[in-house]
Symmetry: none
Subunit: 207 residues, 4 copies
């Protein structure tokens, strides 16, 4: 498996669900859903083409599984971060944004696939993935609403801010390079700051 593959799925070295999903993520991330072939995935997973179908019923099922795991992990990270965060909307927003960006940096390919390839899903699988994605955004939306009500955020447009913030943070997956100028921590802080500023909250320069 190439070094760009995520560790979201890997368990051991034999062909199993985790190995296959890791290979699928790699393939979808590098060639897109339609550009990736089941043969690519099979060879990436070190198994035969036909054996893939013992684990996942179709290529779409594979995408669903990849996206669900990614969204679940992202959601879990945000929830974990919010559990230890204080009660104020400002600190909760910062915690949520930092968790979000942290996931994007740690699992860049998964985050990229999550925003790029969701459009190729349909039916029940799509609903599940869309629901997870919307839940993430809704959490930020709730924080925005709280902070607006409490006066911490003074933006006159709170209704659309969560989407703007999520867009900004998701896009990190499209350009981030591990060798880039900014570290993971810096990226987290940077976007927490931008988010707070966008909401017209009281930003503090921590640099």
């Amino acid at each position: 498996v190439s070094p760009s593959s995520s560790t979201l799925f890997r368990d051991v070295s034999r062909a199993n669900e985790g190995t296959i999903l890791a290979a699928a993520l790699d393939a979808f991330g590098q060639h897109g859903f339609n550009g990736a072939s089941m043969r690519d995935i099979a060879s990436g997973a070190g198994t035969s083409l036909s054996n893939l179908y013992n684990y996942f019923g179709s290529k779409s099922d594979l995408l669903v599984a990849v996206l669900k795991r990614a969204n679940d992990e992202q959601l879990a990270r945000m929830r974990r971060a919010l559990e230890t965060a204080g009660p104020g909307a400002t600190e909760r927003l910062e915690a949520a944004v930092m968790a979000y960006v942290g996931f994007v940096v740690d699992h860049q390919l998964a985050a990229l696939v999550a925003i790029s390839e969701i459009r190729y899903l349909a039916g029940e699988g799509r609903q599940q993935v869309v629901y997870a994605r919307d839940t993430t955004q809704a959490i930020i939306g709730a924080i925005v609403a709280d902070g607006t009500a409490s006066g911490e955020f003074r933006t006159p447009y709170p209704a659309d801010a969560a989407r703007a913030i999520v867009s900004m943070c998701s896009a990190v997956s499209t350009w981030y390079r591990p060798t880039g100028r900014l570290s993971k921590q810096e990226l987290e802080r940077l976007h927490a700051h931008y988010a707070l500023a966008l909401l017209e909250g009281r930003t503090v320069d921590r640099s």
Copy 2:
């Protein structure tokens, strides 16, 4: 041609470059670059499959042409908007962002394809398209730098702000619906406001 097609390319009714590009945009927008077939495009353009190759040497060439026209138009809009804008960084930023969002709304499919499918390009064609995209971002970057120097923008992180703003505005193409709550004008103002707030400029509530 389907109703979702843009008017970026259409000239007359016969099969010509414009008609083909409009059909290609439609197909790429609906199924992605790899998911769209040359047959789709040909039938969308009302011509034969083989005749496509009298106009464009390959599917990739078609994508390049689509993206170049889209980026050129977007760039042209931004430049036109800046010509009539005043000298202050705040008003220039607002003008640029509004032009950017206006393009996204007017040519949603083109904007969506521009951010989604550029990854499938390689070689010289890619360079041209990337250059146009980066130019757009650089214009906003320059305004940010000006406004930071003049004290109009007080963000401590001006270096990365342009990318965040562009990400936020581009993402409109992924969710905008003409029948949605916000009109084009409102979307333009909304994002201009967000951008200014993100930069920690002096926002004015115009609502």
Copy 3:
């Protein structure tokens, strides 16, 4: 499989490497490499077009395999014939030429393809095939050199004689018809005689 197909490759009746190679030989022999289509070959082999690619990666690979098998068989026949031939250059030449012509008659299509279609090969596959062909000619060249040294062959131009002899014998594949005037044995003797005469050896009329 058509009656003109060789028995060089056939093993059993299911679609396997041998059946496919036999069909490929037929197709290449009848329409040439570029004129033969993979569909032709598939239908000749009684399998599906796509299944061909489970056995051979490309049309060129098929040609390589066909030519390699043909050249290998021809080489093997010549070597076998020389093993039982006496030590004199005259008898060795006759044995080699008769084996060569015998192969051409027994596997006319393979011999025809070997001389006609080798030009459509490139890369490593080509080298392998060219090597086998040149080896065959080199064997005759060695006999010519021996016989010239021993005085059995008095031609003043021994250096180019092997090529002339091989050309003459290969060409049998372009005109031979099983129903023709001359039997296989007669053709073998005929060309052995011509070859010996061309070398200015001591010919004996065996007729």
Copy 4:
């Protein structure tokens, strides 16, 4: 036009029959009849694809024309050579073979196409070309018969000798390189010698 093209057809530089035939010869020689495309030929002739059809009705017609001109020229050379040759079978044979080989060297590509691509012809065009080819061989056959009758050639197999000789000489087109060891003159003499030896005539070492 590439340097390997023959001068059999070229008249002037504009698109005309000669230019087109020269381009066709090049294309057929390099890629074979089925491997060459009308586009190749058009671009080689410096004219448009469709304009080809103002001169020749089809690709096959082009091949017929190429082959006819080549065979006609070869026949003409042989006849010219025989006009100035003495009455003896030996000298006539030498003159004919030398003319034949001379043509092959001077128009290698045409000679190669003549032996390789004739199989792709059918119908009336084929008959014409085959007739010209057989006439060439028949001339040599007649000389062989004469020489056998007169006792100049003592081969016990005169009936098949002409074909063997023509095969040997034609094959020169498959390996000759202008930069090779042997000059045109040497090749002519060499093959005349081989032919005479094959016929068991009285060879003279002229070297």
